[in-house]
């Protein structure tokens, strides 16, 4: 049978599938792909939605590079990402190890760890805003109750970003912990037994058995977290508005300001294009690693 005939037959067999797919493809094209392309084009234009768009070449990018907040936003975003990795990577991993060691009530603790994920992000942010209130907030009341001085939390440039990272970690650690837990449970028990027979203590077992066995999961989640945390928006938007003193202005918050506060859609598109490229690098690495781990 010629390849053409085979191809035709396969097409005929799958015509229903393609038919069912077509609606989704049209919707994607209209509401996702086409606007993305349009957004890229917009990076090189200025629009006011009254007259025809005006081509401005690289002017939007020049304007961004001249904005002192541009550097600040990238620095803050990387700081958030770095802190989020320290907390959001280590804490869920250790939590998963602890859960894995539990003999009783494991299901209960799994549920407790996962609960915060079920809260809508804005609710989480508002809840923590009250925790952090420098006056009657939960944390400062607690600190004062044990005779410690309160902290300014979100009201000081020194502590605001760290405060946001804690919120983000608390809100998102449930999913990560469960993935680690699933990975830990695939490790054959005899490896631990062998290590134990060789006299390895808990830390050596963790280092020589657990970490190598979960290496791929760790790496994939690390990359996913980088991609996710570099797009931090909800926490600074709801909790600090980028303040105090621009210490929590992130790239996505700046993008939002350009588009919906300054109404400068060209520069906003240019900024999203830059972020898109930066994240593309991480995403490419993610795809390669997941491919390798699948093999």
């Amino acid at each position: 049978m010629s390849t053409t005939a085979r191809r035709r037959r396969r097409l005929a067999e799958n015509v229903t599938a393609y038919g069912l797919l077509s609606a989704a493809l049209v919707v994607f094209a209209l509401f996702s792909w086409f606007p993305i392309v349009r957004g890229v084009v917009l990076s090189f234009q200025q629009v006011n939605f009254v007259d025809a768009p005006e081509w401005v070449g690289l002017e939007n990018f020049e304007l961004l590079f001249a904005d002192p907040l541009f550097g600040v936003a990238w620095r803050n975003t990387l700081l958030f990402t770095g802190l989020a990795l320290v907390f959001g990577f280590a804490i869920p991993f250790l939590t998963a190890v602890l859960l894995n060691e539990l003999r009783h009530a494991r299901a209960y603790f799994r549920l407790v760890v996962y609960l915060p994920v079920m809260l809508p992000p804005v609710v989480t942010a508002l809840l923590w805003k009250w925790f952090y209130d420098p006056g009657p907030g939960l944390f400062n009341e607690g600190l004062r109750a044990v005779g410690l001085p309160g902290s300014a939390w979100l009201d000081s440039g020194d502590t605001a970003m760290l405060s946001l990272v804690l919120v983000s970690t608390w809100a998102n650690m449930g999913s990560t912990t469960l993935i680690y837990l699933a990975a830990l449970q695939t490790i054959p028990g005899d490896l631990y037994e062998a290590a134990e027979l060789d006299g390895a203590g808990i830390w050596r077992r963790l280092w020589h058995v657990t970490v190598p066995q979960t290496r791929f999961v760790l790496l994939v989640l690390l990359l996913m977290q980088v991609v996710a945390t570099m797009q931090v928006f909800t926490e600074p938007f709801v909790m600090t508005g980028g303040g105090p003193d621009d210490s929590t202005v992130t790239v996505l918050l700046l993008l939002y300001r350009y588009a919906f506060v300054y109404n400068d859609f060209g520069s906003a598109s240019a900024l999203s294009l830059l972020l898109f490229i930066a994240l593309g690098v991480f995403s490419a690495a993610y795809v390669r690693i997941t491919k390798r781990s699948a093999e």
Binding site: F31, S32, F34, P35, I36, V37, R38, G39, V40, L42, V47, N48, F49, V50, D51, A52, P53, L63, A66, D67, P68, L69, P134, G135, D155, G157, S175, I179, M224, V227, A228, Q231, F233, G241, G242, G243, P244, D245, D246, L252, L255, Y256, A259, F260, V261, Y262, N263, D264, F265, A268, S269, S272, L273, L275, F276, L279, S283
Partner: protein, 455 residues
């Protein structure tokens, strides 16, 4: 397994692209004519259902206007200015023919050519030439062209607690006129003890910058000055340092500002409503808020002109017209604005409805905004006095000074500028070792960078 958060950048890119994909269509927002052949004009500024009285007034006015103008069909929409959705509405043909703006909006809207030029169209409107020129200037673009009309305004003054003045041995009918007098009065009020604060100022949510701007204006200064085509920061100077030094002395030397800082307007209103605060800078519209939301009494509050009185920060609201509207719609839209908001023939009936509805009358605010000059201002004042149901004499000092104090508009990119200056206010109010000169210098370069972004 991929988190939906990781798609956010694509979503944002797509969202912006989506807004921009809508082709610019000609004509106003939708159909020109309604079914019965009347000219359809969409308007916003309709108060929400939750503000029952204001909503009732608005809806009655729409009905009355349509009865008086049988060829116009008004289509009212709830809502005011939402800068986040403005461009999307314009792109999607959803922006009203007549739309509401704050005084901080027109400069950028005009620069982006997103409002209709109404210079010729207003020539047929009565009374426009008797509006305060500085308010009309808010809506002017290059060559003095006019793009909108002011309908209400406010200027900063000093709100003070008459009972606390009395208790502290001060004369409530003779409020402080200078910052030195404010300082002395705050000191006496704070000496009452029991957590009473003499003077409060803000340092959070961009309101610190807003108040520093008002303070600077009161001394005759300004936050930004126009230089050629652009703007430059104008506060890193003696006036800026004077304001901050004075604030620092009140906060740390006199301890008359309380220890709880990082305040916003709602905090000061709560303190004032509870009888725990002597003075704060505010516009007259704060007084009904103190009464309605914070259990205050009208007779307890006085309103003085801003200390020193060498200038005052003004703000307000008005209406602009959709740039895609046809000349016919522009004319009809302006007819509505003039009839509803700028209409001396309705001063009396409009004010009476507020008085009958047990709403406060006698304040320099709705239903009697202080936007007129000359004979019309006198006419408005007479109507206000006729129906006054709040102690107007408590605000007389403010009102008498309001025509002579020079009004300053908010700086361009006001909110960003204020956000930067919040930091300055925060430092002075929370750190006894704060150095005003260094703070102003650091803020200057940031504000200059913000101002350089305007295009």
């Amino acid at each position: 397994m991929k988190s939906p958060r990781s798609r956010r950048v694509l979503v944002s890119l797509a969202a912006i692209g989506l807004v921009a994909t809508v082709p610019a269509c000609s004509g106003g927002s939708g159909e020109e004519r309604s079914g019965d052949g009347r000219l359809k004009v969409s308007i916003n500024g309709q108060p929400p259902q939750t503000q029952a009285f204001e909503r009732m007034i608005f809806d009655q006015d729409v009905a009355e206007f349509e009865a008086a103008h049988p060829d116009i069909d008004l289509e009212p929409h709830e809502g005011f200015m939402e800068v986040e959705s403005f461009s999307a509405k314009l792109a999607g043909g959803q922006l009203e023919d007549v739309y509401y703006v704050y005084f901080t909006d027109p400069a950028q809207i005009i620069a982006r050519r997103q409002a209709a030029d109404i210079t010729d169209a207003v020539k047929d409107l009565p009374h426009v030439d008797q509006l305060q020129p500085q308010l009309l200037d808010v809506f002017r673009g290059e060559g003095g062209k006019l793009y909108g009309l002011p309908t209400a305004n406010y200027s900063m003054g000093l709100v003070y607690s008459r009972p606390l003045f009395t208790r502290a041995g001060l004369d409530p009918d003779n409020p402080p006129r200078t910052w030195a007098e404010v300082r002395a009065a705050a000191d006496k009020i704070a000496a009452l003890g029991d957590g009473v604060v003499g003077y409060a100022d803000f340092s959070k949510g961009n309101q610190g910058g807003w108040h520093l701007t008002a303070w600077l204006n009161s001394l005759g200064g300004q936050i930004a000055r126009k230089e050629g085509d652009g703007w430059k920061a104008d506060f890193n100077n003696d006036l800026g340092r004077t304001a901050l030094d004075h604030l620092k002395q009140m906060r740390w030397t006199d301890d008359s500002m309380g220890s709880k800082q990082l305040l916003q307007d709602a905090d000061a209103q709560r303190m004032m409503g509870a009888g725990q605060l002597g003075m704060y800078l505010a516009a007259p519209d704060n007084i009904p808020t103190l009464v309605k939301q914070f259990n205050g009494k009208y007779e307890d509050y006085g309103l003085a002109p801003v200390p020193e009185g060498r200038g005052t920060l003004i703000g307000g609201e008005g209406y602009m017209v959709n740039p895609k509207a046809s000349p016919e719609k522009i004319k009809a839209g302006l007819t509505w604005i003039q009839w509803k908001y700028l209409n001396p023939d309705r001063f009396d009936s409009f004010t009476k409805r507020y008085a009958d509805g047990q709403q406060p009358v006698g304040l320099p605010a709705l239903p009697n905004p202080d936007i007129w000059t000359g004979a019309l201002r006198d006419q408005q004042e007479a109507v206000k006095a006729k129906y006054a149901n709040v102690p107007a004499q408590n605000y007389a000092a403010y009102l008498n000074a309001s025509t002579t104090i020079k009004g300053h508009l908010e700086p361009p990119s006001a909110q960003q500028v204020y956000a930067t200056l919040d930091t300055v206010m925060q430092a002075v109010l929370t750190d006894p070792a704060a150095d005003p000169a260094a703070l102003l210098s650091a803020a200057e370069s940031k504000v200059n960078a913000t101002l350089a972004q305007i295009r």
